[in-house]
């Protein structure tokens, strides 16, 4: 059942992504000011939204784990965080490529970039902490606590953007601007890509969750053998 779900999610996500890419490269026109490179926004923005959706879900799952003690929540939180981390990396990488073309530099210490970087470091710490703890129950509790600390920090870091001058392009989605900042066809494509990303992310999360559970089972068998 679970395996079927993984395949369905992955296939639907991949097909949707392929269809989107076709649209992005052949149907949508170049943007007036930026030319062809603007297309990276269709990866950049959905990747960011996927990552932060994931980090938020991980926060909820971590809290659920602490509340119930059910290790399935812990596996889920860890898998979601890992996958979100990858999408956050995609976001930074695509942004960097775009910046090289448009701004002429790979990186600028703009607050939004800086906060994304900090966010990556925080969740890298989460993944590192998990690696450092052998006992699954202890690992679950500590990494859940770290997930809560980390997410709260991401909010504080993110908030501080508003108090700094930013050279990052302002938000484009109508949901944040009230519309008018982007062509509806392009905005539509961002959402379509987001859907594809979320589906693919969900598929990977399910695979990772399965691995986490197997890992825990191996750990328990090892304990049994040593006992």
């Amino acid at each position: 059942m679970r395996e079927k779900l993984v395949y369905i999610l992955a296939i639907v996500g991949a097909v949707l992504l392929a269809w989107n890419l076709y649209g992005i490269f052949t149907v949508l026109p170049d943007e007036a000011a930026q030319g062809a490179i603007y297309r990276i926004i269709f990866i950049h923005v959905p990747a960011a939204i996927t990552a932060f959706t994931g980090f938020f879900i991980a926060l909820v799952l971590s809290a659920m784990y602490l509340k119930t003690g059910d290790l399935r929540y812990d596996s889920a939180a860890a898998s979601v965080t890992e996958v979100s981390f990858v999408f956050a990396c995609v976001n930074v990488a695509t942004g960097s490529i775009w910046a090289r073309i448009i701004w002429g530099i790979w990186w600028t210490w703009d607050p939004r970039l800086t906060s994304m970087f900090v966010c990556l470091l925080i969740y890298f710490g989460y993944l590192m902490l998990r690696k450092a703890i052998d006992e699954p129950t202890q690992r679950g509790r500590l990494s859940a606590a770290l997930s809560i600390f980390g997410f709260v920090d991401v909010i504080i870091v993110w908030k501080s953007i508003q108090w700094w001058r930013t050279q990052h392009p302002s938000p484009v989605l109508s949901i944040r601007t009230g519309g008018g900042n982007i062509d509806p066809a392009m905005e539509h494509m961002i959402y379509r890509d987001l859907l594809a990303f979320l589906l693919i992310a969900a598929a990977i999360v399910l695979v990772r969750m399965r691995q986490e559970m197997i890992e825990r089972e191996i750990d328990s068998l090892r304990r049994l053998a040593h006992a």
């Binding site: 900090v118 590192m128 450092a132 509790r141 606590a145 600390f149 709260v152 870091v157 108090w163």
Partner: protein, 225 residues
């Protein structure tokens, strides 16, 4: 017994041990001074620019020196399994954690005071123009470092790579706090207190409140597992 009183007793015990052995105080103080020295090679120490980057310089010293202090906080409980004895005693986990934070807070403030004098001496910066405001900034930011240091010290106390993990975990989280502290200290060193200062002061306050409540709320989870 009142939880706050318990925390104070834990801190009192730790400070008594620390003042007797001076293990982290000496290390952190010396380390902070060494960093101050090293910075003199990074830029021209005689230039008037120093005041404009002085805040950053100081807070990097404090943050790095702080790592040596809060690293020891829970590690002090490891010999003889004192941590178990304490956790099994009527001291609540949150009191224990708060006690550790108070210890780090006091020790780090001492290191900061020493560093400030050394800083004024080496770089000819008049940091004493707004003594009360500077103290308030130091106190607020140091408490943030101390409480986060205690929470993460508790989290990593049983790990083999404790000393390595702790800085990697904690510095990204400290970023908003350090940003605010640097900004405020710079303003004070340059003798220009602006309306922005209030905003950054509020960041410090929010940071302290949020993380103190989180640390107290999660203390049991972190320590009992």
């Amino acid at each position: 017994m009142n939880p706050l009183l318990q925390a104070l007793w834990v801190a009192r015990k730790d400070l008594a041990i620390e003042f007797r052995t001076k293990e982290s105080l000496n290390a952190a103080g010396a380390f902070a001074v060494v960093i101050l020295l090293l910075f003199s090679f990074v830029f021209d120490p005689a230039s008037p620019e120093v005041a404009t980057i002085g805040g950053g310089l100081l807070w990097l010293c404090f943050a790095f020196g702080g790592a040596l202090i809060f690293n020891r906080g829970f590690a002090r409980e490891l010999p003889n399994e004192c941590l178990d004895a304490l956790l099994a005693s009527p001291v609540s986990a949150s009191s224990l954690l708060a006690g550790k934070a108070i210890t780090s807070f006091v020790l780090l403030l001492i290191v900061e005071a020493v560093s400030l004098f050394v800083f004024g001496f080496f770089y000819d910066v008049r940091w004493w123009l707004h003594p009360l405001k500077l103290f308030a900034v130091c106190a607020l930011a140091t408490w943030g470092i101390a409480i986060l240091g205690a929470a993460f010290g508790a989290m990593t106390v049983n790990l083999k790579l404790r000393e390595l993990m702790l800085p990697v975990l904690i510095y990204p989280l400290l970023l908003p706090l350090l940003m605010a502290a640097i900004e405020l200290t710079n303003n004070l060193l340059m003798n220009q207190v602006t309306s922005d200062s209030l905003l950054w002061g509020r960041v410090l306050l929010v940071f302290d409140i949020v993380y103190t409540s989180l640390a107290v709320a999660l203390a049991e989870t972190i320590l009992v597992n």
